[in-house]
Amino acid sequence: MTDQAIAARLFALIEPFNRKGLALSADTHFANDLELDSLTVMDLVANIEDEWDINMPLNMLPDLETVGQVADAVAKLKG
């Protein structure tokens, strides 16, 4: 899967959590822009894991602050 395809599917998964209706981009920041709290992030992570049939270990999450960083992590975990 291309990085672009991953990004497109990732945007679709994030959309239900995008309460302010921001235009999503690779630079969109989960805490600062989307204002997701830690519990909401966990729901989103579970959805991402199931979308790509991967596990995203919790210890990885502190380094994933933007949508682009998550897309890169998905690509890497997907191998």
Binding site: D37, S38, L39, T40, M42, D43, V45, A46, E49, D50, D53, I54, N55, P57, L58, N59
Partner: protein, 397 residues
């Protein structure tokens, strides 16, 4: 200088905003005097305690108090150090022996709190290259144990068997895996489908740890917990528990039949690098654990009053967190923080102390008034509690 506490400004504003509405601080209740397991003086008022974890009502048991007094005389006020470095006191062995009898296990290790028991067990069992698979609604002590370990940490959706199966299936078959579960989840008071969860864990070659903190004394034939009630004693590798709930004092423990279990004492930082329990606390815990082995009447009464409270509140129109009373935690759902705190405050003004719980202690978006009863409550107490809930609601208009 950058003020490190400035990152908490949002919380400070939220908390002051809450108090500015004229309510008492739900996070700052003071018990001025404790009259019994079911009553205390709060704000000068005789208050019914409906929010302690004193499930079996052991805090004022005369045998428990006597054991503590004796040990205080015999061993002094404190342990003044770690058991590994500064020595074990006879009461530490006494309570560990009582736990082995209570759980029918070959080993028992006592920690200084339940939090430290989970912190120590989870972080020491799972090391670098291992995997911890935990329920999303796990207690903070389990999450913190994960942080302290060097393992990879994977979460599954709360009580969801298929979700656990899927996540275990994505892991390397030969990797070390620890699945961490709780018998009773302490916020909503719901119990875990342990038979199915444990079966899935075993099928994937994982070891299983179950925290039975909120079940000890009144689930299963011997009061060991939900895992005993569901017939899983042969399949659960480690059980974690606490003295601060049904046992009525403070401390934590883990029990196991694993032949190598005892070595954890020498490797586990939350055990070896902290002071052990004061001998008097260990002695009260031993006396209490031994009495809980034969506390059939207390257990029956705890279930009777818990069921009556759930039924009474439900009949009065309150929205309950669980359809049926699954445990001794009876939680009422409210829509948001403001209405929850307002009702909590009115209850306290009506002489009822229960717990106000909010995220992140609760799952996202859930606000609760959490009630937990004690075996020392009577059915008449329950009638009174329900009528005060109704009166408190009415006073809010």
């Amino acid at each position: 200088m950058h003020d490190l506490l400035s990152k908490f400004d949002g919380f400070i504003a939220e908390h002051s905003g809450l108090l500015a509405t004229g309510v008492r601080d739900p996070f700052g209740v003071v018990m001025e005097r404790v009259l019994s397991p079911t009553r205390a003086i709060i704000n000068g008022r005789d208050t019914m305690l409906v929010g302690t974890y004193n499930y079996m009502g052991m805090t004022f048991d005369p045998d428990v108090i006597a054991a503590g007094k004796q040990a205080l005389e015999d061993y002094g006020a404190g342990s003044t150090g770690s058991r590994v470095l500064n020595g074990t006191f006879t009461p530490h062995l006494g309570v560990e022996n009582a736990l082995k009898e209570f759980y029918g296990t070959t080993s028992a290790i006592v920690f200084s709190t339940g939090y430290q028991a989970n912190l120590g067990m989870v972080s020491t069992l799972a090391g670098k290259g291992d995997y911890i698979i935990l329920d999303a609604d796990s207690h903070a002590s389990i999450y913190d144990g994960c942080k302290l370990s060097n393992a990879e940490v994977v979460r599954f959706r709360h009580n969801n068997v298929a979700d656990l199966d899927k996540r275990l299936g994505r892991l390397p078959a030969d990797a070390g895996k620890l699945v961490v579960l709780e018998g009773v989840y302490s916020m909503l008071g719901d119990i875990a489908p342990l038979q199915e969860l444990v079966a899935v864990a075993k099928r994937h070659g994982a070891m299983v740890l179950v925290d039975e903190a909120h079940a000890m004394g009144f689930f299963g034939q011997h009061g060991r917990g939900v895992y005993e009630e569901l017939g899983l004693e042969a399949d659960v590798d480690f059980v974690v528990g606490t003295f601060s709930k049904s046992v009525g004092t403070v401390g934590g423990f883990a029990v196991s039949n694993h032949p190598k279990f005892e070595i954890l004492r020498l490797l586990c930082n939350p055990y070896r690098f902290t002071a052990s329990l004061p001998p008097a606390v260990a002695a009260t815990a031993e006396a209490s654990v031994r009495k809980l082995m034969v506390a059939d009447e207390k257990r029956a009464n705890l279930w009777a009053v818990s069921r009556a409270l759930h039924g009474g509140l439900k009949a009065a129109g309150f929205q309950m967190a669980t359809e049926t009373p699954e445990s001794a935690i009876i939680a009422v759902l409210l829509p948001d923080q403001i209405s929850t705190v307002a009702m909590w405050h009115q209850l306290l003004e009506h002489g009822i102390y229960c717990n106000m719980s909010r995220p992140p202690a609760t799952p996202a978006g859930i606000f609760l008034l959490r009630c937990s009863l004690s075996a020392a409550h009577t059915l008449d107490d329950v009638t009174e509690i329900v009528s005060r809930f109704v009166a408190a609601r009415a006073s809010l208009g």
